[in-house]
């Protein structure tokens, strides 16, 4: 029985698909609409039934809510989270509510995973639609999506404790999704380093020097210290994407994890390698299944085209000159030198060369428009040389200054508080260090996670009611375990807090927010 056999597969607990509503609208061509499906080895009948339900509910909900189609389906055993990534291109994630307590999550946190993987994809490969236009058979976009998303999901070794923003999800065969334990984090935001005035001036002058190194070519830069952003000259959206990528694969911690997994790599059996390899294999076989039986595919040879996998693990190394190198983008035609990576900026829609320089904890990301660098790789190496010559001293100085001023991984810990502060206008967040968050009880975390879900709903309603209007809301709950769980939103800023060792009176809790607000948020959450 088709569907019941599908059920046993559904039990694996996680499905992720991308489909295009413009494709496969005729009988017999339904498979055309599937652009990505995880797990790839699910029978097509099951894949189609997941997509069919999604498609059905998108159509259905538009009857009543034409401006916003289906966002989530809550069923007894599964949550289906929807995200319309591009016009008519939908991403749907189906997650099982297992008996395990960790399967308590916020829908919005899951949706942010979908948004993140899509924006990163677009940054490297361009929009899904553009790839479909380039190759209407869909093969090009499918191979890119499979490689990219599987790398995104793939296994990850033990992480450093303060790597708060980004993590990979595939642990062994199990996908580990953001759960209630991550309720004091906000994906899709940037974490900033607080710097003193003197250091800020140094950073500024460094940025100016860097910009001058490219000559007349416009140049954007991003400066990171550890996993924290120090400065950016990019638009907010592009900043988030590059920051996310940097923390995932470029920052010292990401490189460290490469080093620590080196031995596995040499043994050739790291989970990620296997997962990624099997993905490639299965995506190949999927294509084969897709096209082998049909006449539309001109020949099988097209599959051999090179798929760039920017999220592949363990592919970035520090070179002799301080620049990070990778062979992800393949060798330059006719040479042994690796090609310089490129990314697409969201704001300017311009393709840029991506150069990364690292000195100790300091990571510099430099972007030059491809069009402005003559002679390709040769031009890039000239620019790199310029940077080493003109800016390396400044970089040393800045690194030293920032290191001195930095309080370590617990720098942003505030005694007695466990908090998350989000500035929605600037897409910046700051939170208690993860090591401190883990001291909270499960009950407190679940209470806060549920409260955040409530706030998410209020925010989205406010958005539909009156787009320009910022919701002003204060909720303080004395939870069943006697912890205070608090949410405040005002003028685009949000503050979430758990106070476990607090007095029982509401006034005490309010006082605690007031003090925190005055001291760390310039009074943004203080009552006038």
């Amino acid at each position: 029985m088709g569907l019941s056999s599908a059920n046993t597969v559904v039990n694996e607990g996680f499905q992720f698909c991308i489909f295009d509503l413009r494709r496969g609208q005729h009988e017999g061509q339904e498979l055309d609409k599937i652009l990505f499906f995880y797990p790839a080895d699910l029978p097509f009948s099951t894949q189609l039934s997941v997509i069919g339900l999604s498609e059905g509910l998108i159509t259905f909900t538009r009857i009543f809510s034409p401006e916003a189609a289906c966002e989530v389906i809550e069923a007894e055993r599964n949550s289906h989270v929807f995200h319309q990534a591009e016009p008519d291109i939908w991403m749907v994630m189906v997650v099982e509510k297992s008996k395990e307590s960790d399967s308590i999550w916020r829908i919005d946190a899951l949706r942010r995973v979908l948004k993140e993987v899509h924006s990163l994809f677009v940054m490297f490969h361009g929009s899904i639609r553009s790839l479909l236009d380039k190759d209407p058979s869909g093969e090009l976009v499918r191979s890119h999506l499979y490689a990219f998303i599987m790398d995104y999901l793939s296994a990850f070794q033990k992480r450093s404790t303060w790597d708060v923003c980004c993590c990979d999800f595939l642990v062994g065969k199990k996908i580990k999704l953001p759960s209630f334990r991550d309720c004091l984090k906000e994906r899709g935001t940037v974490q900033m380093l607080t710097v003193g005035r003197e250091a800020a001036l140094e950073v500024q002058s460094l940025v100016r020097v860097l910009e001058s190194c490219a000559g007349n070519a416009p140049c954007y830069s991003l400066v990171l210290f550890q996993d924290l952003l120090v400065s950016t000259t990019l638009s907010p959206d592009d900043t988030i994407n590059l920051f996310t990528y940097a923390v995932l694969r470029l920052a010292p911690n990401a490189l460290l994890s490469r080093a620590s997994s080196w031995s596995y790599l040499r043994k050739g059996n790291t989970a990620s390698q296997i997962a990624a390899a099997s993905v490639m294999a299965s995506s190949g076989s999927v294509s084969e299944q897709f096209y082998g039986s049909r006449d539309t595919s001109p020949h099988g040879g097209e599959r051999s085209h090179h798929v760039v996998r920017p999220l592949q693990h363990n592919k970035w190394y520090k070179g002799m000159d301080g620049f990070l190198v990778t062979d992800i983008w393949g060798p330059e035609v006719g040479s042994m030198v690796s090609a310089t990576p490129t990314v697409l900026l969201q704001q300017t829609e311009e393709r840029m060369y991506l150069c990364v320089y690292q000195h100790k904890s300091l990571t510099l990301i430099l972007l030059f428009p491809i069009s402005s660098i003559l002679n390709g790789e040769q031009g890039i190496s000239v620019v790199k040389q310029q940077i080493v010559e003109n800016a390396s001293l400044k970089m040393l100085k800045v690194e030293e200054k920032l290191s001195k001023g930095w309080g370590g991984e617990n720098a942003y810990h505030v005694g007695g508080y466990r908090y998350l502060l989000v500035d929605g206008d600037r897409n910046v967040s700051r939170a208690s260090p993860p090591g401190k968050v883990t001291t909270l009880t499960k009950e407190s975390l679940i209470s806060l996670s549920n409260l955040r879900e409530e706030i998410d709903l209020e925010k989205s309603r406010a958005k539909w009611d009156d787009p320009g209007h910022e919701k002003d809301l204060e909720i303080c709950i004395r939870a069943k375990n006697n912890a205070w769980v608090i949410a405040r939103t005002t003028r685009g800023k949000e503050l979430y807090m758990v106070l476990e060792k607090a007095n029982e009176t509401l006034l005490f809790a309010s006082d605690a927010i007031e003090k925190f607000s005055n001291r760390y948020c310039s009074g943004a959450f203080s009552l006038d």
Binding site: L3, S4, L53, E55, G56, R62, A68, I73, D465
Partner: protein, 571 residues
């Protein structure tokens, strides 16, 4: 039915090897078709032409699918007419709709809009406040206490019963209704729809059924779909499916419990034995059984705007839900008012399978006596009982007492004692004797003149856990319009859902919540639950003190406002 669909699906097992997707697509097509039939009628929908679907109809092999095909075709016919209608409408009223949807609360055409304040006593709930005389009497309309809004007008503006019967799923106006309720059978036959003609909604109903069974076939049960401001809530009760589509801000838990109540109301009329009819014949049409009861459902749905059902462990054997449903049934049916009646009913919380018989007689315009029995031939006996009870009530002046107490109303926030000195026996302030605050500082007095009680207190609900009864204050300015009352109830609903944390585990202990509209405070102890609403600018410390005073006040007058030591209602 389910065997039909599963057998047709089992053919697909082979398709794993077979790249030809057409057999696989069948269950899918099925849902898609359902939706295409709706998309058809969309004003600017680029859906396929009806002829696209004809060949598929031929492919179907199960009787179930054939039946649906029939429905699809009917719907298409209806749909194509509707398109014409709609287009012309869109030319003339394009702007008006927008207007309607924004101001629906005030539009006389809309039931949710009406000032039904006169009926707010249908919340058996609020009326409990002032009286403690007898079980049945607590559930009744409080009519004459709202001189501001004018009762007679209000009565006119909300006429119980169904409206907008001319609408169907192709009408823009229908799509813009804020809150739809549907009852349908598991074969997709419409049983009840709050708006529109059930017969014209057959296609839509089949779509709802398709969604539910599609998810069910995948081994799951759909509970909720969210899209923008809309929530679609599903409840499956054996062969009966209930669906609510709402863009009100009510929490999922509230909407779901409303569906439970609607199901309960259906059982009250039919008992659960109706399930057997479906076992015998999946295509069983139960609309005739419910004939003429539209008004009962619409009245119940309307009461959702005003009623709070605070559920909890029940000590009394008559469950509050049963009480609510029973009173709704009696009060929404005009025939009970005109003559003494003897009607079979079922109390779903008591025993969903069995019929009881209710003897109902109105003692005066507001008060009715209901006697329940298991004996179908007890009419004359109960009539006799009623006569004796009535005599006693009349002799002892209880009925006029009841009338007087209704006029006096319940607790008023303005009467909250604010003097900080130890109180020496609070008098029956709730009976309307205004207690002038003597020691309150000038500022605080200014603060609450004309705007509710002291320190910005607007309203409260106090529930005694032990007694399983609650009292709520009368609505005072500025919560005097029905619209504001509805908004306050919705705010309480959210607060309740948030405190009870999705119904998992014990509730939280305290909550303070401030938004543009209110400061809300909730306090849950083993003894009581207090929900209080204040001016959004209310001072936190004063609000807390005020809540403490409310609790003290309620305890002081407990004897008068609650039914103490009443023997549990038992059979």
């Amino acid at each position: 039915m389910s065997s039909d669909s599963s057998s047709s699906i089992s053919n697909d097992g082979s398709t794993d090897q077979n790249p030809n997707p057409s057999p696989t697509a069948k269950p899918l097509d099925f849902l898609q078709e359902r939706l295409a039939s709706i998309a058809l009628t969309e004003p600017n929908g680029g859906a396929e032409s009806p002829s696209d679907q004809e060949p598929q109809a031929g492919v179907s092999n199960g009787s179930f699918i054939e039946e649906i095909q029939e429905v699809v075709q009917n719907n298409q016919a209806a749909g194509s007419e509707a398109v014409v209608e709609e287009v012309s409408e869109s030319f003339t009223h394009g702007v008006v709709w927008r207007d309607n949807s924004e101001h629906e609360v005030d539009a006389p055409s809309s039931p949710s809009s009406s000032g039904y304040a006169g009926e707010r006593g249908s919340s058996s709930a609020t009326s409990e406040s002032g009286i403690g005389e007898g079980g049945e009497d607590e559930i009744r309309e409080v009519r004459n206490d709202d001189s501001v809004d004018g009762v007679s007008d209000l009565q006119q503006s909300w006429v119980p019963g169904k409206r907008h019967v001319d609408e169907d799923d192709a009408s823009i106006s229908w799509r813009k209704r804020k809150k739809h309720f549907f009852i349908l059978s598991n074969s997709g036959k419409p049983i009840y729809s709050r708006y529109g003609d059930e017969h014209k909604l057959a296609g839509f109903s089949a779509t709802l059924q398709a969604i539910i069974s599609f998810v069910e076939n995948g081994g799951d049960r759909v509970q909720l779909v969210r899209a923008g401001k809309h929530q679609v809530v599903f409840l499956v009760k054996g062969p009966i499916y209930l669906v609510c589509i709402s863009c009100t801000e009510e929490p999922y838990e509230s909407l779901r419990s409303q569906l439970e109540l609607i199901y309960g109301q259906m059982l009250l009329i039919l008992t659960k034995s109706v399930n057997r009819c479906f076992e015998k014949n999946p295509k069983f049409d139960m609309t005739p059984l419910l004939g003429g009861t539209d008004v009962v459902f619409s009245s119940l749905i309307h009461s959702f705007n005003w009623s709070l059902v605070l559920s909890g462990a029940q000590k009394a054997s008559l469950h509050p839900d049963d009480m609510l449903l029973l009173s709704n049934f009696v009060m929404s049916s005009e025939s009970f008012r005109t003559s003494e009646s003897f009607s079979p009913i079922c109390l779903p919380r008591y025993n969903p399978m069995a019929f009881l018989y209710a003897y109902v007689h109105y003692l005066d315009v507001d008060t009715y006596l209901m006697l329940l029995t298991t004996k179908s031939d007890a009419f004359y006996h109960l009539k006799d009982c009623r006569l004796r009870i009535e005599t006693v009530l009349l002799k002892s002046n209880v009925l006029s007492e009841v009338q007087r107490s209704l006029l006096d109303g319940g607790m008023r926030v303005e009467d909250l004692p604010v003097d900080t000195s130890p109180r020496s026996g609070i008098l029956s302030a709730h009976l309307g004797q205004h207690k002038v605050p003597t020691e309150s500082p000038e500022t605080s007095r200014e603060e609450y003149i004309g705007v509710g009680g002291p320190f910005g207190l607007w309203h409260f609900i106090y529930r005694s856990i032990y007694l399983d009864q609650y009292v709520s204050s009368e609505f005072s300015p500025p919560i005097n319009s029905s619209r504001q009352q509805k908004r306050l109830y919705r705010a309480y609903q959210k607060l309740y859902a948030s405190m009870h944390d999705r119904g998992v585990g014990p509730p939280h202990k305290t909550q303070f919540r401030r938004d543009e509209n209110y400061v809300l405070l909730c306090w849950v102890t083993p003894e009581f639950e207090l929900y209080a609403a204040f001016d959004p600018l209310a001072d936190k410390a004063l609000a807390i003190r005020t809540c403490n005073r409310v609790c003290q006040w309620v305890k002081d007058v407990e004897n008068e406002i609650f039914l103490l030591g009443a023997s549990p209602f038992s059979w």
